[in-house]
Amino acid sequence: MKINCDIDVKHLTRVEGHGNIRIRIKNGQVQEARWEVVETPRFFEAILVNKNWENAPILCGRICGICSIGHTLASIRAIENGFGIECSNQTRDLRLLLKHFETLQSHVLHLYFLVAPDFLNTGSVLPLIKSNPDEIQRAARLKLLANDGADLIGGRRLHPTRTVVGGFTMLPEKAKLELLRRRLVSSVADLSQTAELFRTFIIPDFIRETEFVSLQEENSYPFIGGNLLSSDGVRKKEEQYREMTNEYLVERSTSKWSRLSRQTMAVGALARINNNFKNLQPQARKLAETFGLTPVCHNPFMNNIAQLVECLHVVIDSIMLIDRLLDTAWTEPRQKVTPRAGSGIAAVEVPRGILYHAYEFDQTGRILKADCVIPTSQNNGNIHHDIVELAEQCANSGRSDQEIQLLAEMLVRAYDPCISCSVH
């Protein structure tokens, strides 16, 4: 069967930032297939040079509006690692709780507002307000819970105000944490109904063998710090991040790309689950199994399901964290910071994968060099090669341009790319 196809998506919609998809097939032969990142760079790594350490978390949070909590925490942790500051368990628990709310907020936004319209045959969430009011109310409820939680711990849902090097400027009221706990408990029902909704969606059957990279911890599902692990068996320490990311530049992309053992690699919810399945909360693991999501899953569309599973994981983990916080007497929120010369590196799992911040300081804490490696920049190469493979698979399928375009768009959306982040 001969087919021709000409797809030119300029500025893909329902993703964060500016990216293009180009697919051209002639007589069943793929002539062109690519993912292009055309976002304008902001040069954060240069902006940080000569700035005092105190500026870094404030500025770096502004790399992204969606994962600003993750950027702020990565920046803070890199500074703390550089200055040799050990945080209290209380600070660690509160930071993880704050991160969980960011994960929940981001995943819910992606699943309901960006992904669901494709499966429900609309161009956006707006018509669903009338046609699927229950789903939209549920999405709003979950998102509100996540945002309220982020407000309570971090002071603000995006570009947090209470998070500082050494701890927090102030602590949440315990009574409000208790209230949040109750809302978390009742959100489990909302998540199980979300799972039922996603069970009605037909996830495209597309496989491309991929190397998955994530953080790894001994006994817990990783979010802040840990070792670096790839599904192909590469293991590195946090400070060896450059050997894991190997950033390089490509034509037609303002974002850098990454590779490890193969041509490309992937990070994100699917990578985390593939590499850390046994450390998911048991209920979340069970949910993954009902969707046939067990390691190693090589279908990038399943990243949507991986995000759903992580929503349940973070909700259950948050309840346990709050219980632990409420059971202990609280200490001072913040410790003193004394700058010193040297370098500091931090790896944090943000919704879209591992985020690295690394700084070099002089003895007064002035930044001499900054490096930020963003999850979507690690994924961009993988997205591109998935598009190439998808075009190959569609070349003789007899599918219409419209069908191929939707599939290609859904494939990119499944990665939930944060394109502005990836060019920072």
Binding site: V15, T40, R42, E45, A46, I47, G65, P117, L158, C421
Partner: protein, 258 residues
């Protein structure tokens, strides 16, 4: 999708609205989807015809354009001019659009080639000095903040739709902070731009005990000289004051005085 609505017998228009973004973190657009309790009511005020981050449909037929982000490339200028041509009202949305935001910090390096080389080596990437929207087109309305405050956005947009006057507070964040009965951050040993930054955020940062970084730009008649004196009286080095003044771009005309 336009439906006839009225309030006390007065017809309420439902304007066609589009959202656009230039160099930014897109956080201000994300804020539009927050405030879940009032989100659906807010959305029903507007007929959204373009919002790339949230919808596939797009149209050039709109009355109000909300534009986020700063201008950093020549193709940005062309796109912005096109938006200006189409829109009756152009709103600069957030600090990047109003002042250049944190992105304008790269302008402090005189050598743009060094900036490019620091991040991309010899790989050619186009960039130019960061500018706010008003450097290229007429801006009808500014909504300040990094990020914008959704309650304020709702108030401003409602007034815009109803044709009511939009007045930003003329007084500084310090007033709102005092009204919130917060401990003064200077007493806690933190620098703060609250005394000179335009209010309207309800002291968002300072009530969380983070000193103000001036993301909303200067209040009317901001007494920057007096702030400098307060900072020096509290033994903050000049560099810390400058870091804050230059952070979001709103105070750029005062930097030379330091």
């Amino acid at each position: 999708m336009t439906t006839k609505r009225s309030f006390l017998g007065v017809p309420i228009p439902r304007p066609k609205v589009a959202f656009f973004e230039f160099s930014s973190c897109e956080g201000c657009q994300l804020q539009l989807l927050n405030n879940e309790a009032t989100l659906l009511d807010f959305l029903s005020l507007l007929d959204i015809v373009s919002f790339r981050e949230a919808m596939t449909e797009r149209s050039d037929d709109y009355e109000i354009a909300f534009v986020e982000g700063s201008i950093t490339r020549s193709d940005d200028v062309k796109r912005l001019e096109k938006i200006r041509e189409n829109a009756k009202v152009l709103v600069a949305f957030g600090s990047c659009a109003c002042f250049g935001g944190v992105n304008q910090l790269k302008n402090r390096f005189n050598d743009l080639d060094w900036v490019k080389a620091e991040v991309y080596g010899t790989h050619p990437i186009e960039t130019q000095e960061v500018t706010p929207l008003a450097a290229h087109v007429t801006v009808d309305l500014e909504i300040y903040g990094c990020p914008v405050n959704k309650e304020e956005v709702e108030r401003v947009v409602t007034n815009l739709v109803l044709g009511k006057a939009i007045n930003h507070p003329r007084y500084p964040v310090c007033m709102e902070c005092k009204a919130n009965e917060n401990i003064c951050l200077f007493d806690l040993g933190e620098p703060c731009l609250g005394p000179i930054t335009r209010a309207g955020c309800d002291a968002w940062c300072t009530k969380n005990r983070m000193g103000c970084w001036g993301c909303r730009g200067p209040a009317d008649d901001a007494n920057v000289g007096q702030l400098k004196k307060i900072m020096i009286d509290h033994n903050f080095p000049k560099e810390r004051i400058l870091d804050r003044l230059e952070c979001f771009g709103g105070f750029s005309k005062y930097i030379a005085d330091f």
